[in-house]
Amino acid sequence: MSVTSRTRFVNPRLGTYFGIFVSSLTGLVILLLIFEELGTASGPLRWAMLLGPLALYVAIGLCAPTQEPLEFFAAGRRVPAGYTGLGIGVASMGATGIAALTGAFFLIGFDALCLTIGGLAGFVVMSVMLAPFFRKFGTFTVPSYLGRRFESKPVRLLSAALLAVPALLMIAAELRMGAFAAGWLVGQPQSLMIILLSVVFVAVGVVGGMRSLTWSGSAAAIAAVLALLVPVTIVAVMVSNFPLPQLTNGPLLRALMHLEGAQGVPISDATPLAFALPGEGISSIAKRFTAPFGAIGPTAFVVAMLTVMAGIASSPWLIPRVTMTPGVYETRKSLGWATVYFALITLTAAAVAVYMRDYVMDMVREQPASLPDWVRQLVEFGLVSADSASPPTYTGLGFARDGVLMALPVAAEMPKVVLYLAATGIVAAAVVGASAAASALGNVAAEDGVNGLSWEPLARKARVHLGRLAIAGVAVVGGLFTLLAPTDPLRLMLWSLALTASTFFPVLVLSIWWKRMNAFGAIAGMSCGFGVALLTILAAEAGIVGLDGALAGLFGMPAGALGATLASVTTPGPSRSMLELVREIRIPGGEVIYDREMRLLRLKNRERA
């Protein structure tokens, strides 16, 4: 392993700072546990569990203010690989990836793997095909990159406009999921919680832009991972005496398969293009856990996997994060870390689902005369519904998809604070996911929207102030959009990924790997991909085509690739300067292209003065 000298910019005390954060969080949880045992009412405990961590994230954000554009838009390019990877890994699917994925695993078992495999493959493709080159280019947003790469303002403006749609869908998905957990935690309406989360984002983002968002986001990501790991690890110790739930649920799964067989859980066969992902709200167990393709058909499985892969690899709110690493080598490494964290999260989610299913099936097998305490408690919390059948059957029990993660501590009869911790973890992941998408959209609005007609950025101060304004504006727009569009968060996220995959994946990949591509190709590729994907989603929602909207990438991605290639081939080739630029992107060494451009611009302005 070599160490680039650029790592000297990295703050050596980062570990200490985040150690302090983790111990404060642990302290808070232990303190609340003590209060619970002493008999404090649950109201204050719930509020403390929601507001305590949020206050910590805001405090970290306030500690990192900045006036410099490079700090504001790229966190000073000194976020080491590990933290960048943590941010990307958690932000890629955010709260939806933690709560809805656990629920999907619980309800349809194996078939939910299409999302996790897609995410993992997305990081692999991103690290090999996109991220290192984007880091060498060094622009703060994807539209700035596309505009400069094709030397065309229309490309820049078009990509900025198209980017807003998937970004807003992602913000809505994350805020809704976060508001669900937060609203459940403190018993307040979700709309109020959406406003609270938006205010947290603005408070952090306006002070220091990407710098404060990156550091407070790292803290929130650590909290999310811990809150996901702790309850299930305790359950794993209780069940198998070994604190590694991801690897030790095998024997349990085997017993579960026997139980499912005895209870007559069906092994269904889905049609190739069936895509019956469980929706928001209460649904019951649909199929055996390990039997593949009962809810999602084999073709739909592969298409969904490739859509998620392309969507994550080219998502315009994850790619700019790699420009915050100290160098190209660190960028590649950061995606290795993202893969590790994402794998940890998804394997843990699958383990939670196995343990929870085992609790349920065990309860059904025992044929109790009345529902046991923990089920009654879950019904009271609104996370489970039960019919009046006695003894209870698995078909009579319904589970809120997004509440399965929170149901595990109740089923294991742990103290209530552990349950609140699980809910606060979902809120933390929502903060990470929503602020990643919202900050990227804010930067695009400031850099490529308002100032989109000029290659020369605004003066230093005005640029940062415009960035602050854009972040506040995006928070307002995103919050309103979330309040107005009450749809299933998982569906919103899949639409967002399908649109990203169709619009940006072909163009971004070809812009690096195909020299002949020109501005016409970029415009045609983006508009074809976006148009076809959007039409497919709308047609699917209206019931015109027998295809799920989440599979829109099936038509969108080929349309985007075809549009980009055909339009490039039939129009004049790229200029010499453009070819020289592509050759330069491909080589990791040398000065960052964007930074050099800014440096030359400064020199020119000084000479003029």
């Binding site: 390990t290 080598y329 794998a343 394997l347 790997w513």
Partner: protein, 86 residues
């Protein structure tokens, strides 16, 4: 800094590395889930093998692919003098 005439061999080398990293991985993730059902008859660590390979196996292979790519590509950069200044 890299010499001009090194650019072509460097890019050829990089392209082959890209294919070597991605093609086997993509083939595997597409083909493996389709055979999960028949693999489920066997067991590993108590898990049905098809599910185990789909969940844990692909995660391990993804991590391995990125790690090996990072090391190989770094070696290629150094070989052609395209690496960042140290």
């Amino acid at each position: 800094m890299m010499e001009r005439k090194e650019r072509k061999p460097y890019w050829r080398h990089t392209k082959w590395q890209m294919l070597a990293s991605l093609v086997p991985f993509l083939v595997l993730i597409i083909v493996l889930p389709l055979y999960a059902e028949s693999l489920n008859a066997k067991r590993f660590l108590g898990f049905p093998l098809g599910y185990f390979l789909g969940a844990h196996g692909i995660a391990a292979i993804a991590i391995f692919t990125v790690v090996s790519f990072v090391n190989r590509q770094d070696a290629i950069d150094r070989w052609h003098g395209a690496h960042e200044d140290t």
